[in-house]
Amino acid sequence: MRNRLFSLRQLCIAVFATLSQIAWAETDNWQLNMFKGVTPLSKDMYDLHMIAMIVCAVIGVIVFGVMIYSLIHHRKSKGYQAAHFHDNLKLEIVWSVIPFIILVVLAIPATKILMRMDDSRDADITIKVVGSQWKWQYQYLDQGISYYSNLSTPYAQIQNTQDKSQWYLLEVDKPLVLPVHKKIRFLVTSNDVVHSWWVPELGIKRDAIPGFMHEAWAIINEPGTYRGQCAELCGINHGFMPIVVNALDEQAFNQWVQAQPKVEDEYAAQTAPTVPLKDLSYETLMAKGKDKYEQICGACHKPDGTGIPPMFPALKGSSVAVGKPISRHIEMILNGISGTAMQAYKDQLTNEDIASIATYERNAWGNNTGDLVQPKDVLAVRQSNGQAPKMVNKVQAGGLR
């Protein structure tokens, strides 16, 4: 009987262990501790964290132990008589000096690691990271690649009308692709407000300050996918601008670089498309427009188009969305409005995207203009913007700068 119970128990443990391994294969829903990560710095940070935690735990056990002992025994209800002592110089000195020594012991590894973090020379590859409200732009300076990385979780999941996917809020349309075993230097800045680029498993967090450039570095030692989030309140969608890093071995990385449209090509593709642009139906434009609008524009202009005036004007009934010329509406989306929070989307959205959004804005919420904006209309505005410039010599330059 006992043997059978024992084997049954073993079986249960084995099954449970297997199941839990499967369940925890990707994410730990009860994660208690920091990531060890895959870079030398992330491991250093983890080690320092563990040392500090253990030191604090030991001190806590001692101090709380004395307290608990006191609470149990030194009670009036147990008839304990209060002592009268009220100072002891030696004791005060001892418990000032010992903590000080413990602090010095903690500070030494912390200092060493900090100095390693500061050493970003001899990098193999440099990535420029630009934070905006509410997306990241990645530029590979030596390879000529530049693209925006947006949250790709559908709005319906956020609004609870659709089940949430496994990487809810931690997925993007175009992740940052990096090589393993190479020293990577990140140049971080911002387009508008202060953001912060944080990937815990890479041990990198660097604030993105508008007008300033700061650097950080990492060597990724294991291929894989690493996810992070913006770590500085930057407005409405601060929680909706994640970071996804795909670390590939060298060969795969080089292949990926080759396959990317290079900066000039991408601009050319939008302003001088090689394939003539098709016209789209009203239903297609509206469906795609609603999708894109809710994902990108809805944060400020609200899904119902009422906006948050005065900073984010209403589009419902607005003269831009209802009036003419339509090229003005398209121009605002392409070029933004200088001096306001309305960004230029010409580098982030295709002609089709902008056509859909403009069509949606002109017809939703009772705007009902019946206008259809086609991709070729957007192209026309782009091309009028993209006319060849006239070179002049008006630069203000001098010394003392």
């Binding site: 990531f35 964290h49 009220h86 990198i204 967090k205 300050i209």
Partner: protein, 534 residues
């Protein structure tokens, strides 16, 4: 703490407050009072009201964060909730509450008839309801209220902020003015109106901690005023303090703000230390251990608090030398804080303790504030801080030092001194229920936040990835239990004031100090003649 004997001031006038008849009489009394007891009461009721208001905002936050997805509020409103919750808890609950305690207690503890500048005292209080009305009104302005966190980082708070920000700035100016004037009053009172024989090193610890806090406030409030005025100038007067386009720097804002912000958190906590140093000796029936070192430690903490501010900015790209300097100074603060904790434990050690409600809160303070202190030490280590900064680990840390730290000390102070102020006993059974519900729920709410931060959850987000769900649910449940438990406290206080059982002397067997030589309740004007202090 001092052992002092005093003879009852038999010549105290026994008239009560000058209050005329009816509603107008009531209003006039409370509007024009210059009596430190009345003004203390006003501050405390303002704090109590703000506590529930800001607490409701916290529950909105925790309700939204119960599950992933946006259920109740949109992100803009969520950001307004987090901002207002912070501003009101700091400037509307903790600071007025401790100022109210100071007003009630300091004159009585030092044998003075009132504060040194009674009319200034009245104005210091009455600024606040107007300041808060201005602040709360911002939520109803077009564009909504401030939504950039109580830390107001530029340029989110300058170029990208709603129109109501300017009203918030004016509100902050008014609150700062109130604090500065109150602090001047407290310093003048403590330095000039002590009874003969009460040397500085005989003052109760609560008086000492407030003396130091008042100096901190005078030093830092003008800095905050400077920071928000520069914000106002950037918004409307074409300046570029925090705008790189004009040669400015957003980091400048962070430096100026945190130069205020760090000593500010010591302003919040030093009076709490003072309260604990009053409560523990009474209920241990033993004098405070190491009074002199307690004073020196408090002074050290206050001095050190001025040279640690950039530990809030470790990831902003400040140079290596600065990071090392601020890491070392921040770690150093652990030494005097540790001394204080050891001294409290030594006061309890070999005492004869009883566990009435004030003592329960004080003991919980020592345990839980120390845990907050440990996470603070971990945050000081810069490389580790890179993983903690702007995550829920920080939220867990500061809520531990603020809620089971500062707020518990305010509960302890209220239960401790309410019988003295009103002459009536609070309901001890209800007090114990309040304590146990609070202490358990506070840990359920805030301890899981450390895990969330370590797992990678950032701060100030209304929605989160699925793997953070479990601990968020736990925290939200705890938060609601904690929030509703506070109604027990409110009920207890109101019931005591109106219908409590008359207290029998001595109020607390182990209590020593000039205030305990007065009747309960004390005369409206106490110590009109100075007591003798031996």
């Amino acid at each position: 703490m001092s052992q002092s004997m005093a003879h009852h001031a038999a010549h105290d006038e026994h008239h009560g407050p000058a209050q005329g008849k009816g509603v107008f009489g009531f209003i006039k009394r409370w509007l024009f009072t210059t009596n430190h007891k009345d003004i203390g009461t006003l501050y405390l009721w303002l704090a109590m009201t703000s506590f529930f208001l800001a607490g409701a905002m916290a529950l909105v936050i925790r309700a939204e964060l119960f599950e992933p997805g946006l259920q109740f509020v949109n992100p803009n409103f969520f950001n307004q909730m987090t901002t207002m919750h912070g501003l009101i808890m700091l400037f509307g609950v903790v600071m007025p509450a401790f100022t109210g305690m100071a007003n009630w207690q300091i004159p009585m503890m030092i044998g003075a008839p009132d504060m040194a500048l009674p009319r200034l005292n009245n104005w210091s209080f009455w600024l606040l309801p107007f300041a808060f009305a201005l602040l709360l009104s911002t939520m109803f302005h077009s564009g909504g209220g401030p939504n950039f966190g109580w830390t107001m980082y530029a340029p989110l708070s300058t170029k990208y902020a709603p129109a109501s920000t300017d009203f918030m700035i004016f509100s902050v100016h008014m609150m700062g003015l109130s604090s500065i004037m109150g602090s001047i009053n407290i310093i003048a009172t403590i330095l000039n109106l002590r009874a003969p024989g009460m040397n500085l090193m005989k003052m109760p610890m609560f008086v000492w901690t407030w003396l130091i806090t008042a100096f901190l406030l005078i030093a830092i409030m003008p800095v905050l005023a400077g920071a928000v005025t520069m914000m106002l100038a950037d918004r409307h007067f074409g300046t570029s303090f925090f705008d790189a386009a004009g040669g400015g720097d957003p980091i400048l804002f962070q430096h100026v703000f945190w130069f205020f912000g760090h000593p500010e958190v010591y302003v919040l906590v030093l009076p709490a230390f003072g309260v604990i140093s009053e409560v523990i000796p009474t209920f241990s029936r033993k004098p405070l251990f190491g009074y002199h070192f307690m004073v020196y430690a408090t002074v050290s903490i206050a001095a050190l608090s001025f040279i640690v501010w950039a530990h809030h900015m470790f990831t902003t790209g400040i140079p290596l030398g600065a990071e090392l300097f601020f890491m070392y100074t921040t770690m150093l603060i652990a030494v005097p804080t540790g001394i204080k904790v050891f001294n409290w434990v030594s006061t309890m050690f070999k005492g004869a303790m009883t566990f009435e409600t004030p003592m329960l809160f004080a003991i919980a303070f020592v345990f839980l504030f120390t845990i907050g202190g440990f996470t603070g030490l971990m945050l000081a280590l810069v490389p580790a801080d890179y993983q903690y900064q702007d995550t829920y680990f920080v939220v867990g840390h500061f809520h531990y030092v603020l809620v089971p730290g500062v707020i518990f000390s305010l509960f302890a102070a209220t239960y401790y001194w309410l019988p003295k102020w009103t002459g009536k006993r609070y309901n001890e059974c209800l007090g114990k229920w309040h304590f146990w519900l609070s202490v358990i729920s506070v840990n359920i709410t805030f301890f899981p936040m450390h895990f969330l931060g370590l797992a990678g959850m950032p701060r100030r987000i209304p929605d989160y990835a699925l793997q953070f769900t479990n601990f968020n649910m736990v925290a939200s449940v705890g938060a609601f239990i904690f929030g509703f438990s506070q109604l027990l406290f409110l009920y207890n206080v109101i019931h005591t004031v109106r219908k409590g059982k008359k207290v029998e002397e001595p109020v607390w067997e182990g209590a020593h100090g000039l205030e305990w030589t007065l009747s309960s309740p004390p005369p409206y004007h106490s110590f009109t003649e100075p007591p003798e202090v031996k």
